[in-house]
Amino acid sequence: MKWLGLGLVAVGAFLSAVLLGPAHVPLAGALSSDIVRTLRLPRAILAFLVGGSLALSGAGLQALVRNPLADPFLLGLSGGAGLGAVVALALHVASPWALPLAAFAGALGAMALVYRLGLVGGAALDPRILILAGVAVGAFAAAVTTAIVSLSDAAELRNAFLWLWGGLSGASWDSVRLVALYAVLPIAVLLAAARPLDLLALGEEPARHLGADVEPLKRRVFLAASLLTAAVVAVSGVIGFVGLVVPHAMRALWGHRHRTLLPAAFLGGGALLALSDTVARVAVAPRELPVGIVTALVGVPAFAFLLRRWTAN
């Protein structure tokens, strides 16, 4: 019943993203319309993939660091991606893919640094150190980014922040193909980690006693979630809120078992972002809202409602 409801919401969100927009496209001619085929369809699919990936990464990282405030950008990835993007703009790299590739590289750099710092205590990846390292690396990258922006002559650098604040305006079939191909592996790794993550939720020591390979598991989850987020940042910038709140909302509905939580988070995140992007395009047309604002405006009331129901039971 719950699955049917979530499925219906997901399909509804996807259809609204394809059928609604600032341009009027008659329902009958929707599939033959250029606007639907080259703009809305890839954008809806990308929104779904990005939202789902963010929520899935968020759920995985929350389980890994056992902190309800964890979200995909906690571990320094947004700072690294921003630095990469600004460097690409400052160097006047004129390729249409320069910005996403540089952001991806920056996010990977931040991830490697955080990972290395997370291992300072020895071979074990310490979740508390991971969080601190993530915040520190993120702050450092942001400082370097701001220094470049304020010292550089290029006026377009200020626009780098516009891109970084997130949005799906760059969606195309190319970006959909890229993310879809790339994301399969980290998504599969995260979904396969569902059962050991349940054990990890009991604490590292009990999980070890129950037969979970704790250290490799933590590394796998960290790397998969970060690699997934890095790809998402490259195509859509930093879209907040989805990765933080959707996992909690799904936990309220489905409980703590990751076998159901992880797929539900993917569907829920995808539906939320597809719906939010539709609102972003339609609400103030011909202008467009930043999608991150809409995810919060749509998501927070829904989350508050779920919290109330959850605590009432």
């Binding site: 600032p22 341009a23 004129a94 467009e288």
Partner: protein
């Protein structure tokens, strides 16, 4: 017939511009000058300014147009017009001015672009005993007021009056009928366009060019690509510095091909120094926009 009408309109614009340049410089009045700037602050000068620091490219252009360019002792890194401005020492980028660098030029007048940070800077300069005027120069109608204000401060009232008259006549004359529909795209991810609140939109009206996003109130706004596609501009105008060449990077992206003007590679390139700052060259900018949109670069 219509074409001829446009030509005469263009000729009119240029004649207006020429008139402004030929205006006679007035004699400086004696006695102290008291002027209220665009932030509502009153500043007093004992005599017309002799050492001026301009912290905005538009003001630099204005000071030269008023015939006081030889009294400039400091400018911003962005001040590149007229060419003589480059000979003036730079004191920084003018956005959050370095007060010490400005004071080191020993100016008796500093003119700043109106922004909250610059108003703070103006107060600091005053504490150092340096007169500072804050000038708003965002739209065409600001230029006439700015010309009068700066004209008084540098003792060139007659020239300022002539320039202000020209610009006021430019704003009030009937606009020619629009023949080309243009979208001004200032950024691509996300797509950002120029709306009615911008100086560029005013130039478009003067040039007889229709901004397809004239219904958007603010100076600029983010829009969806499908909105850009359905507005279907004949030409896409891109602001850029002169160093760049060839179509903008977004022209090669698959999703942008939905827009006819992108598919047909109908772009015009507007240099920031002429089109990005409201100033005495507004008539030339309008004429140039007209010329460019009549034969866009492929």
């Amino acid at each position: 017939m219509r074409r001829w009408a446009h030509r005469t309109h263009l000729a009119g614009l240029l004649a207006l511009a020429a008139g402004a340049v030929c205006g006679r410089g007035g004699r400086a009045p004696s006695g102290p000058l008291a002027v209220t700037d665009d932030a509502g602050r009153t500043l007093t000068l004992s005599a017309p300014a002799r050492r001026i620091v301009s912290l905005s490219p538009a003001v630099t252009e204005l000071v030269f147009a008023l015939g006081a360019g030889d009294r400039l002792v400091g400018r911003t890194t962005w001040c590149d017009y007229p060419p003589a401005a480059r000979a003036v020492p730079s004191v920084g980028d003018g956005l959050n001015p370095n007060i010490e660098a400005v004071a080191a030029r020993r100016p008796d007048l500093v003119v700043l672009y109106r922004s909250p940070l610059n108003e703070t800077a103006a107060r600091q300069l005053e504490r150092l005993g340096i007169a500072a005027a804050v000038v708003r120069q965002d739209r065409l109608e600001d230029v006439a007021r700015a010309a009068r204000l700066v004209g008084r401060l540098v003792g060139q009232e007659a020239r300022a009056e002539a320039l202000a008259d020209t610009l006021t006549r430019l704003v009030t004359q009937p606009a020619p009928r629009a023949h080309t529909r243009v979208a001004f795209v200032v950024w691509d991810t996300p797509p950002m366009v120029i709306g009615a609140g911008s100086y560029l939109d005013q130039l478009a009206t003067l040039a007889g060019v229709e901004n397809v996003f004239h219904d958007i109130g603010p100076a600029s706004a983010v829009v969806a690509l499908e909105t850009l596609a359905t507005r279907d501009p004949d030409v896409i105008a891109v602001l850029r510095d002169s160093a760049a060449s060839g179509p903008p990077a977004f022209a090669r992206r698959a999703e942008w091909q939905v827009i006819r003007a992108v598919r047909e590679r109908r772009f015009v390139y507007l240099t920031g120094s002429l089109f990005g700052r409201p100033g005495p060259r507004a008539p030339q900018a309008a004429a140039e926009l007209r010329r460019l949109t009549e034969a866009p670069a492929r």
